[in-house]
Symmetry: D2
Subunit: 251 residues, 4 copies
């Protein structure tokens, strides 16, 4: 409950298509990760310390020291999931289970750490055809909807549609519709181990979605929601043998 | 697990607009309750014994003897919720808590028994303007989707949209979209006490929705899902005082 | 996300048995409500403005002006639930649905507002016989467990046991065991409308439970968790008719 | 809803300690898998076709043809989880996601297929010291509790205690207490993909738990609950591209 220590956020992005595709570069001249980092800084200001990391940094910018000092990791990847090293994916999974927040954006649904944490295929329906997306709040008591209108529009967007093969979310916050009549559970909370995961589907490299006022707000809200101030002392590293009387005799 | 005793289903309907509105009468010449009862008989056959009851029957057709011998009650009402006596609404609520299945259809979301069981306003967004509804399965592991396609269309339908003010469903089975871009949690499961509740939103008096092949199947599936074969012996009628040693000394 | 405005907490208590029973008065000389208010002040300090209200205050101390300016209401009652006026119970229920946090303590499980919000009997098993209660964290990713050990002991306590007839909690945080071998879902979260409800079972007038270091911490954590900074603008006051084009044509 | 085709159940067991440990052999002379298979046959009779498979069968007895013709797989393993081939574990996981029921018993919580499906460590607290286990129903509306008393006793049992590092169960059915005061979420439902998973913790090789009347009943109930009669036609094998108009133009 000590609000004084800033939330240490690491914004991870592939940062490749921004280098090679002029359309994307025009929308995100500093890379999508910088735009996302900016949304968090804009809304949370001094409450956070935001840094970025990308696929082509050494160790993908996610070595042990970085993960250890990250309270919330946001993840955007799309075409290069397979280039993420298995041991880094495993380390991210473990850090989430140990209490790190994890905000997974858009095509990150197929990233290695998210799939490992979900245990399902994480597949979905899709179309890239300038759909209109409407994002509806279905859980107005949830902190992630703070200052977000009951419904907002993303003018042009990739369609993501059901069935989205994830476990039933522990909390469902948003449902989206698309021009074609598809629906999607676009804001989903999952608690895993001591960590907190928010999946938020809006966002695509070909559209300026991360400049959208409400999308930016949701991402900032999600960072606050996902942050665990002090991970629980529960020991999950092993199966703990507790002989008769262990509780009474603990120091 | 004894499948031999038939499931005793009571299909309840207001059966008023069918008498006064020729449009409705043409679609549902025997009343909507008979059409709904027919769907259950069609799919479940000898596995069920289906009877009907309506608002203008004595005691709304739901006296103690009827409720006591009902395994699953389906409910359709719309314009006359206030004409349901409070004591009947309370008795239905109690029977659900005691182990009766309760399948609430469409405008039944504002019925007295459903509102009492939910504890919320049960309000929603609506429009009657010949919308197309698409009903999407978001829980393919759920028995209620058995033999239902991943998405199906209802050509003309009243729009029901979010925010739907019910508790977060214990299981979410369907999400619908409408022509206007609205979304709705159209198939929702709630467990309450020893009873099981399924809310299914498709269905309206001005549209032939209860003749729709997949809607009929979902209703039959919901009856099977909601049925509790043998209500649990857990005592919920009072707060049970259990003196030290009660478990060891029980007969 | 503006953390500057304090959380306005109203601590409600019956404050009758404290006046008549010397055992209780010795444990809680200023009333249980003052002890509970002290726990919140101790942990949250300037982040909250805490006031108290009791059954025998005019309007139970919960008139419209008080409720309107309460962000989180905590509730302790036991022997006099029936003395709470129905309209006050209804007003509390409505304020929760409109975005107030509601922290229900111990025997408050049978209070009118809680029962109205749950829709079930809220009955349970009980015994007053100096049981030892162990409170186990089963959701280490949850903010309510912040700075609470994986298990803690309450040396003497009333037993509350299953089956506890509430809806399946939206999040389950604690499970307790008792000397007799009973178990209880002792920390339960419910989201209802725009409001957030936490039920926490430890606490009894004959035992000094509200002086317990971890119980005090959980109550403070629950206040933070239940607080909705800015209730969602979603309109739940009525069924909202939304004619075709309403979204495109909104101002 | 066609109840005529029997449920094809495969009961999988390690069947090693039964060969080497005379204590275990005396309790389970035909192997634990045969005792478990017997429980299912006893309660479900002609409604099931039950076969068994063990670790040392070729391909662990779980080749593609077996999995393809298994509606529900039950799993007991303890000391030799690592001897299960990774590709078999992956195939079991995939079959669950494709619609197979999966009933995981006791120490199966650390089995490869279960851990892959959960995405968490699945660690827990434990003690082997002749604890008394009490198993409490906390969800009396659930089919798995059919004909099971509100609480039942297992006289001597290994203790499994919280924190149990699994995702929050989609439905929580049983909570157990132990002599030492520990608690455990002993009956947990998870829906994953098109499949249904039930974890049930009672059962240990050194105790005659699988001869216990209520344990046997729960396992049979769980088989019925986990069975998906006809897996949903939802395509989860890949991300499905759905060009504009795909729904309207489908054959």
């Amino acid at each position: 409950m000590n609000e004084k220590r800033p939330i240490r956020v690491t914004v991870w992005g592939e940062n490749r298509v921004e280098q090679t595709n002029p359309v994307v570069r025009e929308i995100y001249p500093d890379g999508m990760h910088e735009t996302i980092a900016g949304a968090i800084r804009e809304h949370l200001g001094e409450r956070t310390e935001v840094r970025t990391a990308t696929l082509d940094d050494p160790g993908h910018g996610l070595d042990g020291a970085v993960l250890e000092t990250t309270d919330v990791l946001t993840w955007w990847g799309h075409l290069f999931h397979e280039d993420v090293a298995d041991d880094v994916a495993a380390a991210v999974q473990q850090r989430v289970l140990d209490g790190m927040g994890f905000v997974v954006l858009h095509s990150g649904h197929l990233s290695k750490p998210f799939k490992r944490l979900m245990g399902t295929s994480c597949n979905l329906r899709w179309r890239e055809a300038d759909d209109r997306e409407l994002v509806w709040t279905v859980n107005p008591a949830h902190p992630v909807v703070q200052s977000v209108p009951p419904v907002f529009e993303i003018e042009r967007q990739e369609m993501y549609g059901e069935f989205f093969d994830v476990p039933p979310p522990d909390e469902l916050v948003f449902i989206s519709s698309f021009t074609g009549g598809e629906v999607f559970r676009s804001g989903c909370c999952f608690l895993r181990g001591k960590g907190r995961i928010f999946f938020f589907s809006p966002g695509h490299e070909d559209y300026p979605v991360y400049h959208h006022v409400h999308v930016r707000r949701v991402i900032a809200n999600a960072v606050l929601w996902a942050r665990v101030e002090q991970p629980s002392p529960v020991d999950t590293s092993t199966c703990v043998e507790s002989p008769r009387g262990w509780f009474e005799e603990r120091a």
